[in-house]
Symmetry: C2
Subunit: 394 residues, 2 copies
Amino acid sequence: MTDQAFDTVIVRFGGEIGIKAAWTRKLYERRLIANIKAVLKHHNIPYTRLIRKFGRLYIKTLQADEAAEKLSSVFGVSSLSPAFETTSKLDDVVSVSIRLAGIRFQKGKRFAVRCHRVGKHPYTSQDVCRQVGQHILTSLPELNLRVDLTRPEQTIQVEVREEKAYAFTDTIKGTGGLPLGTQPKTVCLLKADVPSAVACWMTMKRGCPPLLVYFENDVVAGESAFEKVKAIAQRLMDWTIGFPRTLRIIQFGQNLKELVAKHPSEMSDLLCKRFLFRVAQRLAEMEKAEGIVTGDSLGKRATQTLHAFRIQDDALKNYPVYRPLLGFDAAEVEEFAKRIGLEDTVLKKEKNQSEVKRTKVTSIELEDIERIEDELNVEQMVEDALKTLGILRV
Amino acid sequence: MTDQAFDTVIVRFGGEIGIKAAWTRKLYERRLIANIKAVLKHHNIPYTRLIRKFGRLYIKTLQADEAAEKLSSVFGVSSLSPAFETTSKLDDVVSVSIRLAGIRFQKGKRFAVRCHRVGKHPYTSQDVCRQVGQHILTSLPELNLRVDLTRPEQTIQVEVREEKAYAFTDTIKGTGGLPLGTQPKTVCLLKADVPSAVACWMTMKRGCPPLLVYFENDVVAGESAFEKVKAIAQRLMDWTIGFPRTLRIIQFGQNLKELVAKHPSEMSDLLCKRFLFRVAQRLAEMEKAEGIVTGDSLGKRATQTLHAFRIQDDALKNYPVYRPLLGFDAAEVEEFAKRIGLEDTVLKKEKNQSEVKRTKVTSIELEDIERIEDELNVEQMVEDALKTLGILRV
């Protein structure tokens, strides 16, 4: 029932969007609004109007609590408040504030009223605070409240803006970042693990719609890995509402596996990664993506050294490799995973599975790798792999 | 005086080092200990012994508080505790705990005793907690303490390990990461701003000693920028004690500036960045560094788009560009800056200075840039710039 009480969600997106040049800001705001509309539609949250004003967005909906919660995961939103809208007449402000206190205030607690005012009005912000405070005390004696301006346990915020006023108690933190779609796509190499998903999310947060690619390797990884990747992809797609919900799957050619089996494992690691990068590069070309994203943290494993990265990246002639987790410790990656909501999708045993292969790549030089790749006819293998491309709706 | 009370610092470095393969772990621990010794020496903190045991390090010093604080910024350390060492005899554990409570406990507060025990002893962990708790109450009646095991305000931790025991109250969080020097060097392009320094620190945290390079450009940036960069470099070098404290300075050739002045600003931005990358690449070759690090966040400015990065990175033929802040919002970069201690060194007006130039690079293609570079004879300009290389001790 509390949901029906509010009539507005205030969406704030100041932060980084606010300091952009005028033409960029306009573009970003337009994209943000489109993404917000898509989320409301996806969750069947009806709204009557969506007003952009004062560098904010006011969404008129009777499901304001639910809308605020869902919109908190739209990239570019810095914070949200479910609110009552009324006119800037002091009587209206007071009565709507009493209504708000009646719904949200807990018995016997200390409270404060804060007011922010823009425009010309026949009263000061101080007047608003005083009037609202007094009327709450007299109108709701059963709540047994006490005014405390320095250490309140609950607060009513009143924002008076020109001829309108808004009253609310809660400010929900948004995800921040830049609106999805304000940057080109990236090819995200998704694995059945947390880091590849977090890395993908980090570039999404900065505006890049992801092109999720999974290299299926049923012999080594097994069926459960595929199920896990699907679950991860689904979770990630909850953050990209309004964009295609797809996972690209490439069969990790049997022939490749047989061939790399002939080489020492440290060599085959690099051969594999370079092969994946080559295929990813072709996908980027096909889909007009602008870079390849991996979940590497520096020094996490023996295959994640600067030396190994250099050999890996050399296989990509036209695209940079982006490693948003480069400087992260494992614990820092975990923190982000929680924030994204990946805890449930990825099982704990993952760690052991991926730690099995211990390799040492420091002694391998690029020339050795290139010689083997020539023998393998890697270019042909890349084309063969691309023929196995499947697109799964997730 | 409290400093003289303790005799030991317990240094924990479990985390990521602990899960490495045996030979890597040994290497990492050796490096960590060398770095720790360098910090103790740098701060003139005398110690009598340094014992590696139980995946920890026990430093015998009478300046334990100071040592713990200084060592908390050594990469690879997960936490530290200034402690009393004693034997595992219960009487000794009790008397050392009373001494500890006398120094650290505040009057009238609730306390608890926790015990962790490894090895064979004629008592249980429970016995330790009970005995220590009772004796503290009876020996320090003037403190007016109260035992509260569920919600203590202060806690004594006792660790009994074989024939030794340690008692402490505080656990200081370490910086985490991997010991500096366990990865190769990186060339860090330092500017008079926070992000370039944070990016550098992120790669340091993962083990890379930084090769700080500043491109001096007195016409555009002015003298104060150089002073700021020096201050930033000094602050960064506080995290690399034991490694060279140097800042490399390249004069940003007058001829280059004149030439780029002839091109539209969006073009000259890319020309500049590609030029810096080329010089950085030559420095990496000369100094055996393995990559170039920048403070770019995706989409932060018009010059920080995927398209721009692609054109920039193309100038580097042999090294990847690392952008550890790629997925960060400005606020996230600020958080790290505080943690690193960069707030004081970088003035607020920095933001405005760097925001002056607003450019749009989406329409520029690599071919246009390459054509201009051919005309400019960029290779020769790179060699000329390298001749201006100066190394400053910071």
